[in-house]
């Protein structure tokens, strides 16, 4: 009680931050403070309403201005990559799907593509198109989540519920198709877990209509709102060089005028056969990232519509007995089928020795899977390149010399998913 409250509130954390400041990735040289420090070190997070989970940002504040910022990660570390080395290739999909919990199907897709590359199998056409449709539906739901949380972070509270309203419909559709709202484990090495259910076309088209109505509504509500523009335009600016040198991908890179999208840059699945545009803008600010995500929803709707129209008939998983379990009916009548099924789900299938790096475009950027097999039923090494982790590095240059309120807008526009950052 002897100290003056103002004096008490400058703490020792500043020393630590200053000592480490050369380690922090930043957009330019940090200003050196001279004389008596008038700044305050504040920890935004890991428990804070707008840090999207457990992100912690150390900030040095001069009044309300952020002098330095440094994201600190590791609060959601679950050791999923290590766990992946203890699971078979079939079980692996349940593991990776929990990393980016806002777009689990992208994780499953990149895992399955990596395993299939090592196995050297070709999945049937129907599975390819179904995967593409599911991933795009998931991109819609993920970007809708961004619209919701971004609106809330800027203070437009109603936007949160409008975004969730449409997202709910998308998740309900995913539940109808995959059986679960998230962590689906539906895209598996060799194809998809089950065929698309009856009536999926009508339901998908209905959801497409709803989402299109929804994004029109958000556009009306926010895009021309003067307060919204003041809060977003010119805030959190990043250049193409900075974004590239920090390894940022996805909407952050595209907002700087660099039209890099793996769906067109390295086409996978059937993205070459569908018609869609890569959205990119020039300014690299929060408003551009908001716009890109808004219009990407519309592009995803376009792709999903084409998938519904052109979905091929045929098998939904590869008919390779080494990879695919026997059908349920065979198990009841055949001892061999039962044994085969049992072995496949306990030991798993063996994958030829080798390594691969496979990448796809998740809603947040390039999600990559580096997989090493030593010829056994379990991977020798698994590494996931989570786009959120690299995107976090763009926060300090975006935040510095701006106000605390802008820092919140920046966190929101980077849209990190901490499960994917810490893995």
């Amino acid at each position: 009680m002897s100290l003056d409250p103002l004096e008490r509130q400058t703490d020792e954390g500043g020393q630590e931050l200053r000592a480490q400041h050369e380690l922090v990735i930043t957009g330019g040289p940090w200003p050196e403070l001279e004389g008596e420090s008038q700044t305050m070190i504040i920890n935004m997070g890991p428990q804070h309403p707008s840090t999207h989970g457990v992100l912690r940002i150390m900030m040095e504040l001069d009044g309300e201005t952020v002098v330095r910022a440094k994201p600190v990660v590791g609060y959601l570390h679950t050791g999923m990559e290590k766990t992946g080395e203890e699971l078979t290739y079939v079980q692996g999909a349940t593991n990776v799907t929990r990393m980016d919990y806002a777009s689990p199907l992208s994780n499953e897709l990149v895992w399955s593509l990596a395993v299939e590359q090592l196995l050297d199998v070709e999945v049937p056409e129907r599975a390819v198109w179904a995967r593409m449709m599911l991933v795009e539906l998931n991109r819609m739901s993920s970007h809708l989540l961004f619209q919701a949380s971004n609106g809330m972070d800027i203070g437009a509270v109603s936007m949160m519920l409008y975004g969730w309203r449409e997202r709910e419909e998308t998740l309900r559709l995913l539940e109808m198709i995959t059986g679960l709202r998230m962590n689906h484990n539906f895209i598996r090495p060799g194809g998809i877990a089950a065929d698309l259910p009856d009536g999926w076309q009508d339901e998908t088209l209905r959801v497409c209509d709803l989402v299109e109505e929804g994004i029109f509504e958000y556009d009306q509500l926010l895009t021309a709102n003067p307060i919204w523009l003041e809060r977003m335009v010119g805030v959190g600016v990043i250049t193409t060089e900075q974004a590239l040198s920090l390894g940022a991908t996805g909407p952050i890179l595209r907002s700087t005028g660099f039209a890099w999208d793996l769906r067109t840059a390295q086409p996978y699945l059937a993205y070459e056969d569908v018609d869609f545009d890569v959205i990119y803008t020039e300014n690299g600010d929060c408003f551009d990232r908001y716009r890109i995500r808004l219009y990407e929803i519309a592009e995803s709707v376009k792709i999903v519509r084409q998938c519904v129209e052109r979905m091929p008939r045929g098998d939904y998983r590869v008919q390779d007995k080494k990879v695919t379990p026997p059908p349920r009916a065979r198990i009841n009548e055949s001892m061999e089928a039962l044994i085969h099924h049992f072995k496949l789900f306990t030991e798993g299938f063996r994958v030829p020795a080798g390594e691969t790096y496979t990448a796809v475009e998740s809603p947040r950027g390039e999600i990559g899977c580096y997989l090493v097999s030593d010829g056994t039923g379990k991977p020798a090494r698994l590494h996931i390149r989570g786009p959120s982790f690299y995107n976090l590095g763009t926060m300090p240059p975006m935040m510095e010399d701006r106000l605390v309120a802008d820092a919140v807008a920046v966190i929101s526009s980077v849209d990190p998913i901490m499960g994917e950052v810490d893995r």
Binding site: G155, V157, Y162
Partner: protein
Amino acid sequence: MILAADPLFKNGVDGEVVLIVIGKTLVVFALLLVLVLLYIWFMRKVIADMQNRIGPATAGPFGVLQTLADGIKLFFKEQSIPDQADSFVFKLAPYLSALPAFLAFAIVPIGGEVSIAGHQTYLQLADPEIGVLLLLAMSGIGLYGVMLAGWSSGSKYPLLGSVRASAQLISYEAAFSLAIVGVLLWSGTLSTRGIVNGQAWTGWDSFATQWYWAPASIAFVIFIIAAIAETNHPPFDLVEAEQELVGGFHTEYTGIRFGIFFLAEFMNLITMSAIAVTLFLGGPSGPSLGFLPASGTVNAWIMPCFWFFLKLVILLYGTVWIRASLPRLRYDQLMDLGWKWLIELAFLWAMVTGIIIIAKQQDWDLLLVVPAAALGALAVLGFLRLCMPKPGEFMDEVY
């Protein structure tokens, strides 16, 4: 004598008069509390409706008792005081915040002149001759509650919140007072009863000719904006911006102390809306039922109260609508709006109003005076805008 204007005190103060005053005090106190309960319920229901939700639905019919249930819960919760807090100031702050909110409501005329137990009296708790100044004083004192709460918490987010609070409330106090001047020039009195009497209902055209919102239209708009900022209501709720400062000045508060802040915030909002009704929308004035006697219960008691509460609910609905739809401003944008626009506009509007009033008194040609005054004001505004620092330009700090 602060209450002297009320006809209640014409024949001296006796026991009955004291009882009437005590009764009125209790009624106003209870009324404000009930209004807060209902307003919070109303706000949650309306916002829920705008957001495709149901809102509170279980406690009482249509969930109307939800706020009461929350209040009771808060009352029985443990109240923690942070280790580093200045505990005396920490405990004092909520009351500093709530008390002025109660006191400011005392000057609001809810109805006309009525007769209680044979005594003629106004349907308002107090009618001091300096009524509007009392309001400004109370909103100034209310600031201390917020500021001290943040400062005494011994924590960083509340400190940021209270720094924002001091800057925001002091800046908007100026625009707020200058907007009120726009009305005072027309009414010529500081007493709220006097202001309301100046807007008496004389026919259906009184809506435009008598009520001050029309002659003081820009002052009305400035008043509404400044009052929203004064009460920390969205889009100006920077002081407790949840997404930035967790809870702002009340981050460290728990239990009923938090509840009191919450109560004070909504009381301020209701008081400000009631003041806006009084100053600009005629207070309780409105058409009475012609087929009933003018001094009967319905026309003397019910109709004025009805009109007052109707106008109040319309304004409060507006605040809820704003809360549901607008994003929050940033700190520097808020300051820009306050200092670079509202204060100047309110000042110039007061000057133009003064010129028009003098022109009317001196029988000058209004067709000439009004455009000349408006042009002069625009010229001054343009000159002031030119003098302002551009973005990226800083003035030398003076030590």
